[in-house]
């Protein structure tokens, strides 16, 4: 028991991490170039013909965004992906309590939150909104590429535009928690090299951490 906090806790496998970063890289590229179609001033970032380049980069990025993340999840991280999907769509009382307390928790780092599983309720919401938003963005985006009908454009362009900004707000919160928040920053290594600090794991994902430990001890017995 003495080395309980010396060993890093394994959290995410390689395939799962690759899928995450593929999605992150191309989503952010799509978001930034896409915002140039709403805030025209941003096109200056890409030079004189900024809007033409924004369009090209936007279209190129759509391919890996659409056709790489899901195969990576399914083929390189099948088990973890299944566990992720099952977990984020399964909600218990602790999750509901977590959501209730979340607004005060992001302002006060000492707020006491209920114990969580592998994904806390905030991450579950982030996952669900990202999945739904991504599906909408992919469908409306490819309709834009393939359709030559202006009446169709009148439907998909507004949806693509509005959902992009809402999804942007979701991802902004996600990035803030992993890059800025003083306590939650410890989650980031889990998505980089796969391992997280054990104290962080016990504090943030108590139920998952305990399950991992007892599984390990059973295996060692």
């Amino acid at each position: 028991m003495s080395n309980q906090f010396n060993q890093k806790v394994f959290r995410f496998g390689l395939g799962y991490r690759l899928a995450h970063w593929n999605n992150a890289l191309f989503f952010l590229t799509l978001l930034l170039t896409g915002l140039m179609f709403v805030f025209h001033g941003l096109t200056a970032l890409l030079g004189e013909n900024g809007v033409v380049w924004a369009n090209r980069i936007h279209r190129w990025s759509a391919y890996p965004y659409t056709f790489l993340t899901i195969p990576l999840l399914a083929l390189a991280a099948g088990k973890e992906s299944k566990e992720w999907l099952r977990t984020v769509f399964t909600w218990d009382q602790d999750d509901l309590q977590f959501v209730k307390m979340f607004p005060q928790a992001i302002m006060n780092r000492n707020a006491k939150l209920p114990p969580q599983g592998k994904f806390n309720a905030g991450e579950k919401i982030n996952s669900i909104l990202t999945i739904l938003g991504t599906v909408v963005m992919m469908i409306t985006g490819w309709i834009m590429v393939l359709s030559k009908n202006p009446a169709v454009m009148a439907w998909v362009l507004p949806i693509h535009d509005v959902v992009a900004m809402l999804l942007g707000a979701v991802i902004l919160g996600h990035m803030w928690l992993s890059l800025v928040h003083p306590d939650n920053k410890a989650a980031l290594p889990g998505m980089v090299n796969g391992y997280v600090d054990p104290k962080f794991a016990r504090h943030h994902y108590t139920k998952w951490y305990n399950a991992q430990r007892s599984a390990k001890e059973n295996a060692a017995d």
Binding site: V38, V51, I106, N108, N149, P150, A154, P158, H181
Partner: protein, 255 residues
């Protein structure tokens, strides 16, 4: 004073010769082979014998005060000039065609890749249309810059098209409009007025400018709401950053 270029179209003198259509086509090198024109004279027959009437009805881009096409354009390719001309920057146009659906007057068409190729053969390799783009009447802004009238106006044998600046009291458009008395009708929210024998010519004249519902719902409600959500997220996170960091600092000082 800023200009407001516009046109008066006199239906009482238009006899449907399509000289304006032809002049516009050659001046602006438009794809007539696809049946696409920036302006055209419609031959409108109404009623049934013996109570029939026939009107030649020239129509084109109305150069709206608040153009829905400009509102929906994602790149700024469609924009409005100080002098009121609604312009298209071909290089910036991505061909998404949202503007075509937004235009209440059906004044826009798509100059597609095939038409661009054909244009190279018909109008020469250095013609105005090098890339696919949405196209429409631009009031012959290039001719105006050289002190000339738009091609359709200069050509019209009946003098049915009068061009000028609405802001200039003695301009040709204002003179023609005043002289026509109650036969003159300015289409509200646009730069175009019609003169017709029976005032209003219900069913022939274009309706007053109104953006389609989807444009209003999108740009007037849904997009501002989404922007507000995004802005609120940025604000909340900024406050939360300050709150967390100052709390951490305080706690560290206590230790």
């Amino acid at each position: 004073m800023t200009k407001r270029y516009g046109m008066v179209i006199d239906l009482t003198t238009c006899f449907g010769c399509q000289a304006c259509t032809a002049a516009c086509t050659t001046q602006n090198e438009t794809p007539y082979w696809d049946g696409q024109f920036r302006t055209k004279v419609e031959d409108v027959e109404r009623g049934s014998f013996p109570a029939v009437s026939r009107t030649f009805f020239p129509h084109m881009c109305m150069h709206c005060d608040e153009p829905a096409c400009v509102t929906v354009c994602p790149t700024g390719a469609s924009y409005k000039r100080e002098d009121g001309i609604v312009m298209i920057d071909y290089e910036k146009c991505l061909g998404c065609k949202a503007c075509m659906e937004a235009c209440p007057y059906n004044a826009r068409y798509f100059y597609d890749e095939k038409a661009v190729k054909t244009a190279g053969q018909i109008y020469g390799s250095s013609n105005q249309h090098q890339v696919p783009h949405v196209d429409k009447c631009l009031f012959c802004y290039d001719r105006l810059a050289e002190g000339m009238q738009p091609a359709c106006v200069a050509t019209c044998p009946g003098g049915a098209r009068i061009f000028g600046d609405w802001e200039e009291p003695n301009s040709p458009v204002n003179q023609a409009f005043k002289a026509a008395g109650n036969k003159a009708h300015r289409v509200k929210g646009t730069a175009i007025a019609y003169i017709s024998a029976t005032a209003g010519q219900s069913g022939v004249l274009p309706p007053d400018q109104a953006s389609p519902t989807w444009v209003k719902a999108w740009k007037g409600a849904a997009e501002p709401a989404a922007r507000a959500v995004l802005g609120t997220a940025v604000g909340v996170l900024a406050v939360a950053t300050v709150a967390n960091l100052s709390q951490k600092k305080k706690e560290e000082e206590h230790e």
